[in-house]
């Protein structure tokens, strides 16, 4: 009698080693080495026994040893950092960018940062004028307002779109007029703090405020009391530089005055205090830069009528300020130590004096002994009028900006320290701020 074995579900039942050899179903197997069912009729299909797919090498270069474990992280794990230098008004480009610290490119997509004219009513005081980076965006003082008419604005740039996120309202310490400018910004304590110079007040007790910007809620809040010479206001000047130290916000004040010995630093706990505590009131000149180094606060000051610019150290254990170095440029001359920046276990600053002139990048590894790291006026064309802008670490290198002589001039330049050596990276229309944008993809 004729019959036929007809099997069109080969291996559909998989391997069975439990049953006796004569009891397997037609779709069962006793071995299925490198075989599988693929639910895709283009490459097999259910009921079709196929060779398994291959194992393709993912990494071209073998790792150093057996793969012992791995975990996939389903997140944006590529961090792309872009260093941005703010430009003046020479042309339509607004910022210069670099991702490697060496190759520069102009861009006009982010809106312009606050430019020189925004600080005219500030008497061009030596405020720090920094921009701020927070998470995956930067925030900076914008330029799209008419000084003395409109409110200064804060701009957010996330690498794609520039957005005005807030305007600084008229403060209680002003004479009812809109603020002049945003003089410094700082990311700390999970927030952005920024300093505002308001109209009103007589030198040195000019008006201003410190505000916080909570970027999760969008709320701008004044920190403690305003500055000025009115009732309840803090004397000593408008805020010009910020630092976070010992859980408190330290603020250097600038009174647009050259009287000796009236430099003021105040401090407060932003979420607790309703007023500022004077931390020091007799620095030789007004503060224009601050940084925390080796657990202590350092303050760079302007020159006064009788004393050259200085760098002071506030010792945490005593709260006492002591001058660590005094500029050889002497009194006057718009001398100041600008842009205190921690880099590679050392503290850097720019020593500037316009009449000597002195344009030096100075450094110290202990905060006490200061040496010239780069004689910019001797080697790089540093001259009076090209004021120091921001200092910033990027990609293991240190950068210092020297502002253009005017808003539209292209004589500003960038100094770069890489591999232990300084060089001039570029000359262009730089207005001062530098900030690093971090993007995750």
């Amino acid at each position: 009698m004729g019959a036929s074995v007809t099997i069109y579900n080969v291996g559909g039942g998989g391997v069975n080693l439990v049953k006796g050899p004569l009891h397997l179903a037609d779709n069962e197997l006793s071995q299925a080495q490198n075989a599988e069912l693929v639910s895709n009729q283009n490459t097999g299909g259910e009921g079709v026994l196929s060779k398994r797919g291959g194992l393709a090498a993912l990494n071209g270069s073998a790792l150093a040893g057996s793969i012992l474990g791995a975990v996939g992280l389903n997140l944006n794990t590529i961090y792309t950092r872009t260093l941005l230098f703010a430009k003046g008004t020479e042309d339509t480009t607004t910022w210069v960018t670099t991702t490697d610290g060496a190759t520069l490119a102009n861009t006009s997509t982010p809106t312009r940062a606050a430019n020189f004219d925004k600080y005219v009513d500030e008497n061009n005081a030596r405020s720090a004028r920094r921009a701020s980076a927070f998470r995956n965006f930067i925030v900076y003082a914008g330029n799209e307002y008419t000084k003395n008419t409109d409110r200064p604005d804060l701009v957010l740039w996330d690498g794609t779109a520039a957005q005005d996120i807030a305007e600084v309202i008229t403060g209680p310490s002003s004479n009812g007029s809109v603020p002049y400018s945003i003089t410094d910004m700082l990311t700390a304590n999970g927030k952005i703090y920024f300093a505002v110079h308001d109209p009103d007040g007589a030198n040195p007790n000019i008006a201003g405020r410190v505000m916080s910007l909570d970027l999760e809620t969008g709320v701008i809040q004044q920190i403690a009391a305003p500055f000025g010479d009115g009732t309840g206001e803090i004397l000593g000047g408008a805020p010009s530089c910020l630092a976070w130290h010992l859980g408190q916000l330290f603020v250097g004040l600038n009174g647009e005055d050259t009287t000796n010995g009236i430099g003021v630093v105040v401090r407060c706990r932003p979420d607790v205090d309703t007023t500022w505590t004077a931390d020091v009131t007799n620095l030789s000149g007004f503060p224009c830069s601050m940084a925390v180094f080796l657990g202590n606060l350092y303050v760079g000051t302007m020159s006064s009528t009788s004393t050259g610019a200085r760098i002071y150290k506030r010792t945490a254990s005593t709260s006492a300020y002591a001058a660590q170095v005094t500029s050889g440029g002497g009194a006057g001359g718009n001398g100041h130590y600008a842009s205190l920046t921690v880099y590679s276990s050392a503290l850097y600053a720019v020593e500037y004096h316009e009449t000597t002139p002195i344009v030096h990048i100075v450094t110290s590894t202990d905060g006490t002994t200061w040496t010239t790291s780069r004689d910019v006026d001797a080697n790089d064309g540093g001259v009076s009028g090209l004021l120091p802008g921001s200092g910033i670490e990027f990609s293991d290198d240190l950068f210092y900006i020297f502002r253009s002589s005017t808003a539209s001039a292209n004589d500003g330049f960038v100094m770069r320290r890489t591999g232990g050596s300084w060089s001039k990276l570029a000359t262009d229309n730089y207005s001062g701020p530098a900030v690093t944008l971090v993007r995750r993809t």
């Binding site: 004729g2 019959a3 074995v5 007809t6 099997i7 069109y8 080969v10 291996g11 998989g14 391997v15 069975n16 439990v18 004569l22 397997l24 179903a25 006793s30 071995q31 080495q33 490198n34 075989a35 069912l37 693929v38 639910s39 079709v48 026994l49 196929s50 060779k51 291959g54 194992l55 393709a56 090498a57 993912l58 990494n59 270069s61 073998a62 790792l63 150093a64 040893g65 057996s66 793969i67 012992l68 474990g69 791995a70 975990v71 996939g72 992280l73 389903n74 944006n76 990311t187 999970g190 010992l246 706990r269 979420d271 925390v292 080796l294 657990g295 945490a316 254990s317 709260s319 993809t441």
Partner: protein
């Protein structure tokens, strides 16, 4: 872009899944990776936690910065003494911790707190703090805590930046402390110091759950705070304790239960949870399975949707619904219950993975007589059928897993002793650069429902997917179970259907299908063999 963090030898790497490029990550000072303890990973709040192979528990941020999971605690408090200025009146106590913050000033990690300082009674003086502890780890700041006057609860006082300065002044009035965060509850879990360590870890309900290799703690589960990788304030115990040398082998993660797998049973943690995670106060631990349902291989555990699979002493078990059941007893029990197929003494080193595209649970085992996991078997979750044992001649598998690629699509991967990670399901039908995949299948014995009767087995028809090239070797065995294989038949895979020679005379017949040519696939639709009975002999 998704990445793979992987340990190769004694180094840690971040691998770009789009091009396979790798970056060697820098380990914290003094930390090394074992090549005998396999690393175990968990992901919480964008951070990867790595335990078991490092000498200290580690945490890796998305960019690849590696830090100790918990900084070592300060060994001593700050020394407090009355200062020379004014400000404070009353008795005060201080503590310190070490913290790591990000560039925005947000807290990332914090160590447990130091012991308390000796009470200092100030009489309208400020307080001079000296000998503020220094950390041996890389930290951002020392965080100082203080009581209010005559109080016992600690409040955040200030952060002393860096890891150099050891003195500061305190004149902060009590009123300014009260709105600040109170002292956190922090502890040093196993693995904070070298010696004992976490041997396994998992994320469940926005917390980390871990078990240590300390022989006295192997039944204790350590639990992190919600979304905090550094805060380990709770434990639960899977009773009875001390029943064997291993305690909790592994975790089994399901939607609403966390399984604790011992060698002799399964416990589950369950409890109510909300959008902010699960409350430790509301969890329960109960044993849900006894005896041989336990797990012997921590790396064999794979959770697939709300089902979990693992290797037990005598087979593979599935935990789904309310039950734990064997998925091998009815089909492939001899793989796991005899010494014919695998080296059972290496079951503890077995490792599993999920092949999402094939919807299969793949379990890597050591071939009998071998000491590496050079074979694997696959359970089709769609049909329940087992396939294998599979092998590759390209490399020796040492680890396996699954993740998603740069397009968010699932991939299964196998790591090799050659330091290469291989992704599965390649349509190129080769392993590595040029190694053929040895497709070797033994079909059932056919007896025409009359295995005692001699048959004439006629011309074989093979139907297969049309390939561009290649031949499938069909080797019939005709006769009895102990008969030798007959002459091989070559089926041309370009034809789709081919009528081949007569198979011969014998009571039984079966086919062996084999194809071992690189870069060629095989799909067998079916076969037919006409037969007729010849009679009984």
């Amino acid at each position: 872009m998704p990445h793979l963090f992987t340990q190769g030898g004694s180094s840690l790497y971040k691998m770009n899944l789009s091009d396979g490029t790798t970056e060697t990550l820098t380990l914290p000072s003094g930390v090394t990776l074992s090549t005998t303890n396999k690393p175990r990973f968990a992901v919480l709040n964008q951070w990867v936690v790595m335990v078991n192979s490092p000498t200290r528990n580690l945490v890796i941020d998305p960019e690849g910065t590696v830090r100790p999971l918990v900084p070592k605690a300060p060994t001593h408090p700050p020394l407090a003494a009355a200062g020379s200025s004014t400000g404070l009146t009353g008795a005060y106590l201080y503590k310190a911790s070490f913290i790591v913050t990000n560039s925005d000033g947000e807290l990332l990690l914090e160590s447990p707190l130091s012991p308390s300082s000796i009470s200092l009674t100030a009489a309208n003086t400020d307080i001079s703090l000296s000998d503020v502890p220094l950390s041996l780890d890389t930290i951002s700041s020392r965080r100082l805590y203080r009581t209010v006057a005559f109080g016992s609860a600690y409040f955040h006082l200030m952060d002393l930046e860096g890891n150099i300065e050891t003195a500061t002044l305190d004149a902060t009035t009590d009123a300014k402390l009260k709105t600040l965060p109170v002292q956190p509850s922090l502890s040093s879990p196993p693995g904070t110091l070298p010696g004992i360590r976490f041997k396994n870890i998992i994320e469940w309900k926005s917390r980390l759950w871990a078990v240590a290799d300390d022989p006295t703690l192997i039944d204790t589960v350590y639990i992190s705070d919600t979304n905090k990788v550094y805060a380990w304030n709770n434990t639960v115990i899977a009773y009875p304790t001390g029943m064997d040398s291993q305690g909790i082998i592994a975790f089994a993660k399901r939607k609403n239960q966390l399984g604790l797998l011992k060698r002799d049973g399964v416990w589950q943690i369950s409890g109510s949870s909300s959008s902010t995670g699960i409350s430790v106060a509301n969890i329960t631990v109960s044993q849900i399975a006894f005896g041989k349902t336990g797990c012997v291989a921590p790396d064999s555990v794979v959770a697939i949707n709300d089902r979990v699979f693992w290797l037990g002493k005598d087979g593979v078990y599935e935990w789904s619904g309310d039950s734990v059941r064997s998925v091998t007893n009815d089909t492939v029990a001899p793989w796991f219950q005899s010494d014919t197929y695998f080296n059972r003494s290496r079951f503890s080193s077995a490792f599993g993975r999920y092949n999402e595209l094939r919807d299969s649970y793949d379990l890597h085992l050591a071939n009998v007589g071998d000491t590496t996991e050079n074979r694997w078997v696959s359970l089709s979750l769609k049909t329940g059928g087992w396939y294998g044992p599979h092998l590759t001649s390209a490399f020796t598998p040492t680890h396996a897993g699954h993740c998603i690629d740069t397009n968010g699509l699932p991939i299964t991967f196998v790591g090799g002793s050659d330091g290469v990670i291989y992704t599965g399901n390649s349509a190129n039908y080769r392993d590595g650069a040029a190694t053929a995949i040895d497709f070797d299948v033994y079909g059932p014995w056919h007896g025409g429902d009359a295995p005692d009767i001699e048959h004439f087995w006629g011309e074989l028809s093979m139907l297969s997917r049309v390939e561009t090239a290649g031949t499938l070797t069909v080797t019939p065995t005709v006769g009895r179970l102990d008969s030798s294989a007959g002459a091989a038949i070559s089926h041309t895979l370009t034809l789709g259907r081919e009528r081949l020679r007569r198979l011969g005379t014998g009571a039984l017949c079966r086919l062996r299908l084999r194809h071992n040519t690189v870069n060629q696939g095989v799909s067998v639709f079916g076969y037919e063999v006409p037969f007729s009975e010849l009679g009984r002999r």
